[in-house]
């Protein structure tokens, strides 16, 4: 359903997010086509601002990270770090005059866990208002 949209999302996610196995990833990429590029990482703490920036520079209109719920990171503080790195990246974006909302974080919930697919849809909804990135120009 999103295939017609022009927005491309670079989505990083912790591999401990529910239903984020390889087959789930493939199914999602098939459904979304070019609009979604998925990057599994062993822990959201591995995410660096440079990953988000490179995604925005090369192909993405928005770049997000999905983490485990607070207190549920397998490596204790990965999601806490990811949050700070997203904040840092947002600061860089506003410094260069780009909407900081083009990067973001979705922190899982212990009470109401969501699958990778559910989260991806929610993020798409969130970013649909942003429109295409100014980096790629509107021809």
């Amino acid at each position: 359903m999103y295939r017609e949209q022009q927005i491309t999302l670079g989505l990083f996610y912790c591999q401990n997010v529910p239903e984020s196995r390889e087959e789930n990833r493939q199914a999602l990429e098939e459904e979304f086509g070019k609009s979604l590029r998925l990057f599994p990482i062993p822990c959201s703490g591995r995410l660096e601002p440079v990953h988000l920036l490179k995604a925005l520079e090369r192909f993405a209109d928005a770049a997000f990270i999905i983490t485990c719920p607070v207190g549920a990171c397998r490596y204790f503080e990965g999601n806490h770090r990811a949050k700070k790195r997203v904040e840092r990246t947002r600061k860089i974006l506003s410094d260069i005059g780009m909407e900081p909302e083009r990067v973001g974080i979705a922190i899982g919930s212990k009470e109401a866990p969501k699958t990778l697919a559910q989260q991806a849809r929610e993020i798409f909804r969130e970013i649909s208002l942003l429109g295409p990135s100014p980096v790629f120009g509107q021809e």
Partner: protein, 222 residues
């Protein structure tokens, strides 16, 4: 190590404004340790600058490279083959690195991307503290290994000033009182008697008495 912080992006963009082919040059030593100018930070800055240029529809080439050390000629010469491709270098080295690169390539403008700050220590992740002024005549022995020049707000040689509260400096309560630390450490080594002496004011001639300092070591020379 030498610590530094990145300059505001606006300032950097203004300085590189006139140039069309820019090499963003990181340094993998001190400034990498303090997360200001290593390979990662160089990649981030390069990416941010390219995006900024694209948004303004500016035709510029911005490429990145990181040298192991930017203040040592043996590493800077590695740019020999490529430097001609650029009309400016944006350096994420400390002030010494910027100048070393400029010395080696006098035809190329070298622009600093960092503000070089101080000689310091990595205290914790994301926390760096100044602890040496490079005075040229180290007195750490007398002060139990805690430098009153770098770490006492009043640079007292015959402290404490009497104003510290709970071991905190009266000028800046976020800092430990250097003299509390000095006394604690000297007591631990039964060396408090070192403080019986009156220390005369610092002789700054060893630091800046005769212009820029240099170290000559014949045994290290060719």
């Amino acid at each position: 190590m030498i610590t530094a912080e990145q300059k505001p992006i606006d300032e950097i963009r203004e300085m590189i404004g006139p140039f069309k082919r820019i090499l963003v040059l990181g340094c993998a030593s001190c400034v990498a340790e303090c997360a200001a100018g290593g390979e990662k930070e160089t990649a981030m800055l390069g990416s941010a600058l390219r995006m900024a240029a694209k948004m303004e529809k500016k035709e510029v080439v911005i490429e990145e490279k990181t040298l192991d050390r930017q203040c040592v000629n043996e590493f800077i010469v590695l740019l020999d083959d490529t430097i001609d491709q650029y009309d400016a270098v944006l350096s994420l080295g400390c002030g010494a690195g910027v100048q070393a690169v400029a010395d080696m390539f006098p035809e190329t403008p070298v622009i600093p991307a960092l503000n070089t700050e101080f000689l310091g220590e990595t205290k914790a992740q994301g926390l760096w503290m100044e602890n040496c002024l490079g005075c040229g005549d180290c007195m750490l022995y007398y002060f139990g290994g805690v430098c009153p020049l770098a770490r006492c707000s009043k640079q007292l040689f015959n402290g404490p000033c009497g104003g510290s509260v709970d071991g905190r400096c009266e000028i800046n309560p976020e800092m430990d009182c250097a003299w509390q630390l000095i006394i604690d450490r000297l007591s631990r080594f039964n060396a408090l008697d070192r403080l019986e002496d009156i220390y005369p004011p610092k002789d700054w001639s060893r630091k800046q008495g005769s212009g820029p300092r240099k170290i000559v070591r014949e045994d290290q020379q060719r």
